[in-house]
Assembly symmetry: C2
Homo-oligomer: 317 residues x 2
Amino acid sequence: MSRGRRTVLALSGGIGGAKLALGLSLVLDPANLVVVANTGDDFQHLGLSISPDIDTVMYTLAGINNPVTGWGRRDETWRFMEALEQLGGETWFRLGDTDLATNMERTRRLTAGDTLSDITADFCRRLGVRCRVLPMSDVVVRTRVKTGQGWLDFQDYFVRYQCAPVVEDFSFAGVESATPSRGFLAALADPALRAIVICPSNPFISIDPILSLRGVRDALRTSAAPVIAVSPIIGGQAVKGPTAKMMRELGLSVTAATVGERYADFVDGYVVDDRDAVGLSLPGVEIRATKTLMQTLDDRKHLARAVLDLADELSAS
Amino acid sequence: MSRGRRTVLALSGGIGGAKLALGLSLVLDPANLVVVANTGDDFQHLGLSISPDIDTVMYTLAGINNPVTGWGRRDETWRFMEALEQLGGETWFRLGDTDLATNMERTRRLTAGDTLSDITADFCRRLGVRCRVLPMSDVVVRTRVKTGQGWLDFQDYFVRYQCAPVVEDFSFAGVESATPSRGFLAALADPALRAIVICPSNPFISIDPILSLRGVRDALRTSAAPVIAVSPIIGGQAVKGPTAKMMRELGLSVTAATVGERYADFVDGYVVDDRDAVGLSLPGVEIRATKTLMQTLDDRKHLARAVLDLADELSAS
């Protein structure tokens, strides 16, 4: 790696992205890591401003994420939800007692005029997260899903209907006028940028909202730093979540190649699982095969190192 | 009691009033009991619409009140508050995990346009409360306390400053234009009214807001049903809360007589503790001495019966 090139910018959705972000935070000086989280999943519920991907990234980096659910905090309790159910409230979106505090305090501060960027930075500091976590934008962007039963708000599709409706298309309401958050723009323009990492998150609903923000895709195309994507497809399957189901419904083959092609205009390197590397090639993209399944902490660190190694090789060449 | 006179209307603040309301609910057919709770204590906090006295009455009648604190639910947990504190949120007003659900769902429904009356009725039904609990008004009234350090919002005085400031006066913002809730008006006009009970609540901050609503004091003065007050002062002391401290600061003697005089223009009967009855007389008011301290469930029922007996005697005479 070039001397002075230190900052790593990772673009992430929820669980899979957060795992790699954790790996990166453990193999880098955390001060050199900036994680930008998708906010297309954000929504209003029970009067609260809920940011699922920011929280998953933040909780994961703080070591307080719930490894069983993939969202929320570990050692969570559900007394609020139980009492809410008793009173006839809406309980389809689960909010644990401690996770609720995050959403309440975020909502209070947003209402008071603070930005999501500032609130997230404060929460991270208080939770002991040493790298920077940023929302992709401080402007509201809302992912909607076109399905056989019409357009659905994302969380209706994702949680209420458990991804059952067949997807046809996606839209990111508000994205046309949404600028990336100031910290995201600063990271993209950082002359000390060592790499931009596209985490192994759902390409349609986690990464695409970020890429659709004004100027982001162009910034990736023209960045002096290498852009490295990690495939969310392992052995022809998605590890978790609806990625594979969506790909099938959209008529796409469930392969690392399909995802790679979506990113081919801006990535320099593509890290895929050993099982998916056979015969894979993308014009102008350096492919690197390794073990990408992240079950242990060592797996996360291994993948993070593989990503950084590829980036540094591409910088040196 | 006159045949057909069945409805008992009780005006209540928090803990002391709720205890008597519970007693009344146990010695009456609950269908014949209407409890009107003070809403001057209500306030907005963490984006929530909080109604402390309604909830204390409701929880008490549902048998789920916290007997230790005098507010909130029993078997409460505090994980939300702990997590909120970790994130730097405001924790001076304690909201337990299950109590929070009440406040969240109330806020959601108020925002959706439901009345506090309807919401309270639904909550009571779901919690198994068989008598009617009503807010004194569906219009916002806010108690303010004039102190040596200026006017304070009630909950700032009451919770944040723990009643430490010396009180000089009270105001009930919005009360001039606030009409009693529809159910409260209906109960006042109910031809089957057997008694109106002024519960042993703080006269300044629990009962006065109710009395100050447009038309209420006149309705009590002219009601065909007997109006019976119960003294919150026992043996020259308040059982709980700042009543005695307030009386001293206002230059009033801490006696059952002082409280009785405040109500003398509209009460027909006044139930005081045996210890406070000596020499007590109020023109035109029948005094009844009994044990008024409510430590056990039997105490609550005993006091409720004493109140109803006095009312029925006055009706018959």
